[in-house]
Subunit: 426 residues, 2 copies
């Protein structure tokens, strides 16, 4: 008998039918002889409706009250799920974040988990009950007020519970089958991966894959939690996210020995490129520039500096399109002190990333990428790499074509078209 933590997103519990479907799934797991702890998000649009209500009251709601407001969404869905399970003849008890011992700091709207003390959950499990926990929320350790965890909060709740309860697996349910070699909406021939390393998963998520939140994957990796990303709508196995030294529970050594070089290809159209032109080629300039960018609160992704012999150099970097304006303003204000010649803003770029732990051990991985792109006559504007990732910046309107070619070049294409599915909520 195993202890299984399951997380269901807002789209899985969007209405009574969805809640009953989830209840059946939970019960099936229980029937299989396992202890089950469920972390659940708010129903479909609940959160948006609450946000809208708050918006009608004031443009800038008090953070503490905002969290009090939003946390009610999960209380509704979890109570309904517990009722559904009850009505099917199984004991189920719902617990709020505070009741579940989800203790956080006091950063309302983006609280970090400080400690998880799931005493009441253990009690309920010992009494044979199915445990339902409100995702996305906790209790501020200092003032005992309700907090919410922000984006990816429910995934993180599930993983944190799995870690605290030493669960055998944390199943993250959504309306997609698992982790794919690419976004099926972009590349219809994308294949579902049986397994992916948490390291690869982090790069995939960081570069556009929507199925899992970086935060939850990071937490799982740090605490040795096995994640199984799968679909609410099928009973197929999904994708296992394996941390350091974790074996695939299906124990397919054969495949493990021949690990695929590349796990996936991601595309990202959300970035803009800013080029600081004619920067004096002297030590410390880059530092000054990015201190200014950081002060503007922008999240820099890629950075490329083209060294030049002219005594001046260009420094290019990418930021989320939404941050570009503030960054340009901040840099413009500092033009004299930074003594650069000009600023170029380009929001028509696209980023393509190839992710694979196999890169470490295999040479020529980047060559395949560059050849595929040149064969397609696609120009590369920026390149940056990590240990397990190669990213290139291209023209945005060439991104999808490029991604398909690259996906093929790495031999990732499947035989049949994947089912296209939408992303899930928090």
């Amino acid at each position: 008998m195993a202890l299984i933590v399951q997380k269901y997103g807002g789209s899985s519990v969007a209405d009574a039918e969805g809640i009953k479907r989830v209840a059946k799934r939970v019960i099936d797991t229980r029937r299989a002889g396992h202890d089950v702890v469920v972390a659940v998000s708010a129903m479909g649009d609940t959160t948006d409706e609450l946000l809208e209500l708050a918006g009608e009251i004031t443009p800038i709601p008090a953070p503490r009250e905002m969290d009090m407001l939003l946390s009610s969404g999960e209380r509704i869905s979890m109570a309904l799920l517990a009722m559904a399970i009850h009505s099917m003849g199984f004991d189920a008890r719902s617990f709020t974040g505070p009741q579940a011992g989800m203790r956080t700091d006091s950063r309302y709207g983006a609280a970090r988990i400080v400690e998880v003390t799931p005493d009441r959950l253990r009690e309920a499990l010992d009494e044979g009950a199915i445990v339902i926990v409100a995702g996305f929320q906790g209790i501020n350790d200092d003032t005992q007020d309700i907090t919410t965890l922000g984006r990816g909060g429910s995934d993180t709740t599930a993983v944190a519970l799995a870690a605290a309860l030493d669960a055998d697996v944390c199943e993250i349910y959504s309306d997609v089958e698992g982790i794919f070699t690419a976004d099926p909406r972009v590349i219809p021939l994308a294949r579902k991966l049986d397994r992916v390393s948490s390291e690869e998963m982090l790069e995939l998520a960081a570069n556009g894959a929507k199925v899992l939140y970086i935060r939850a994957v990071e937490y799982a990796r740090r605490h040795g939690v096995l994640i199984h990303a799968r679909s609410t709508f099928t009973s197929n196995e999904g994708t296992y996210v394996l941390g350091e030294g974790m074996a695939d529970p299906r124990g397919t050594e054969g495949e493990d020995m021949e690990e695929p070089i590349v796990a996936g290809v991601t595309t990202d159209l959300s970035q803009a490129k800013i080029t600081v032109a004619g920067v004096p080629d002297v030590p410390g300039k880059a530092a000054e520039i990015f201190k200014t960018v950081a002060k503007a609160g922008a999240n820099v992704d890629m950075i490329v500096q083209n060294a030049a012999s002219t005594g001046r150099t260009d420094i290019s970097f990418t930021v989320p399109k939404s941050d570009a304006a503030v960054v340009l303003k901040a840099l413009g204000a500092e033009q004299e002190t930074l003594s650069f010649e000009g600023l170029v803003h380009d929001d028509q770029i696209g980023k393509l990333s190839v992710v694979g732990a196999g890169m470490r051990t295999h040479s020529g991985v980047s060559a395949i990428l560059f050849e595929a792109l040149s064969a397609a006559g696609i120009n590369i504007e920026m390149i940056s790499t990590s240990e397990v990732r190669i990213s290139v910046v291209l023209r945005g309107d060439e991104l999808i074509d490029a991604a398909r070619k690259v996906h093929t070049a790495y031999g990732l294409d499947g035989d049949i078209e994947a089912v296209v599915a939408a992303g899930t909520g928090r």
Copy 2:
């Protein structure tokens, strides 16, 4: 500087506009230099919507989960109210029932308050904040689960907070101006009362007056809380409900000395009359009959027995129309053991009650009632009295006419027609 507890019902916070209006009222009280604690109900239809959701899941929801579900309604309204007050430049903090120390027993859906430990509220008040508390809910002292207080829960929350915090007054806001000498919808000339004794208020509420819940009035009387029932939509003073030895805060001795004999006239069409005919006139029969009625779970109101010389007697009593069927069934099943001759069911009755503490000291109060009715040619079918109330059962279609005549006979008519208003939520 006083400590004032205010309660706002669901209709007062039905939408963003309503919430802002309430926020302004709360702030006005704060500006007047008072500490303010607000108990708030769920927004307009929230509770019904949640009940409907639960209904879509299962016909018989688990009580614990039902309370978890319903309690989310107040969390939404209280957070929004706190935001509204914040946005107007005042510090406000919302607290759930558990956070407010509203400790109850574990009767889910109808929990009784066991103890109120408002330490966090005192703290917030000391720090100069306006305190918002979720009405209608508490925490089960045994299992630390969320409970709801049932009908009149928010009124009771407010009164209990006023008692625990030793507040100077508990203002119950609704969309009616206060307590009237009769329901203005029935008797347009009904007058608003400046004050009413808690004893009278209990009789009025028990006999059809909708403005305050018996439970809250009873709690206020036991704990010496001064209630001020007033309207959210005007700044007029409403009606003070005075407990034992409480003086009207407006200190109008003049009027106090000449206390009106009759406080009000109530009408009630919700009862049905059941007559158990031909009951052997021997000791213990009534006991058996009402034991049977009680077992059926019915709430008996009036009881009249017409002693007869025939060795048999008729026992008539009234119950809520909704209970009549089960009572008839229960009695029918026991006809042999109870050895009565027959059952008569009449759901076309109306009950008229005259309430006034003055009855104790003044004679002839009932005479006025009977004369008024006979002058109107209205027949009386049942009579029952308490220390401060006389109730009569009449034909239902004659009730309103009767009530108007009686209202006039006791000199209760005002000069102008009262504003007709709807009842409020929980």
